[in-house]
Amino acid sequence: MKTVITSGKTVEEAVQKVVNEYSLLDDEYEIDVVEKGSKGFLGMFSKMAEVKVIFKKKYFERKLSKFLEVILEKTGGVDLISIDSDGKTYFVTLGGTGVGKLIGKHGKTLGALQHISSIFLNRLSDVKLNVVIDAGNYRERRKKQLEIIAKDAIRQVLRSKRKVTLDPMFPFERRIVHEIVKKYKRVASYSVGVEPYRRVVIEYVPGKTRKGVKR
């Protein structure tokens, strides 16, 4: 998230400075007073007020949705359905008749939009935030599809005792496959090739139990 420390003659003035600079709305920040400040005596011994302004997740959600809305306006047929956050991860859900175009081949465009959004959000934040964008349930469907692909391949490896090389996949897709393979005995997986053509290889390992490789 983000915290800005600032000072001013009074607490109100210090807070207002930050609110104006970042155009914060009333419910988007919290204040932590570090030093109340005092006028002193006849202009002597006066102390500046110091406050911490803590940005809440509502601020980031609003900024992100504004940023995306301008992009979606040009896409046409895609609506921003919701933005939620859980800790440091922001989930964006898109829908509408135009999502197909926005997902792109193998989710390429969706991945691009997610990458750009993630940079945008991290530009506003002090700590690393993640953005996950899903359109028309694409990610969920793709995950199920990958499970089927992985399980088919594992079955084939176990039957033939040979290795199987899958089609090129995105890093997060390969991760899903690796996770599935880990759950099975006598198979192991690794990736070969260079992005964007990196592929998962599943191979037969006779002595492997679920806990690790024993040869």
Partner: protein, 75 residues
């Protein structure tokens, strides 16, 4: 499309006020010349060109296959 490109760039750079996009034709192909603060050049291109590629992919999906080139030029 130029305004959308500007919107995206301004969202990801540290100095939005320095973003300039020039649209021009080169050998009949559309070219967008991007000028950003020298501090932001790396951010706009990204690791292995991932960010600039992402921008290109996103814009391509909105232009119905019309070809164009993105160029990041040093100010």
């Amino acid at each position: 499309m130029r305004s959308l490109l500007e919107h995206i760039l301004k969202g990801i750079v540290r100095h939005p006020e320095d973003v300039v996009v020039v649209e021009l034709e080169e050998d009949g192909k559309k070219v967008f010349e991007i000028v950003v603060n020298s501090e932001d050049v790396g951010q706009v291109i990204g690791k292995d060109g991932r960010t600039i590629k992402s921008i290109k992919i996103l814009l391509s999906s909105l232009t119905d296959g019309k070809e164009f080139t993105l160029k990041v030029v040093r100010p």
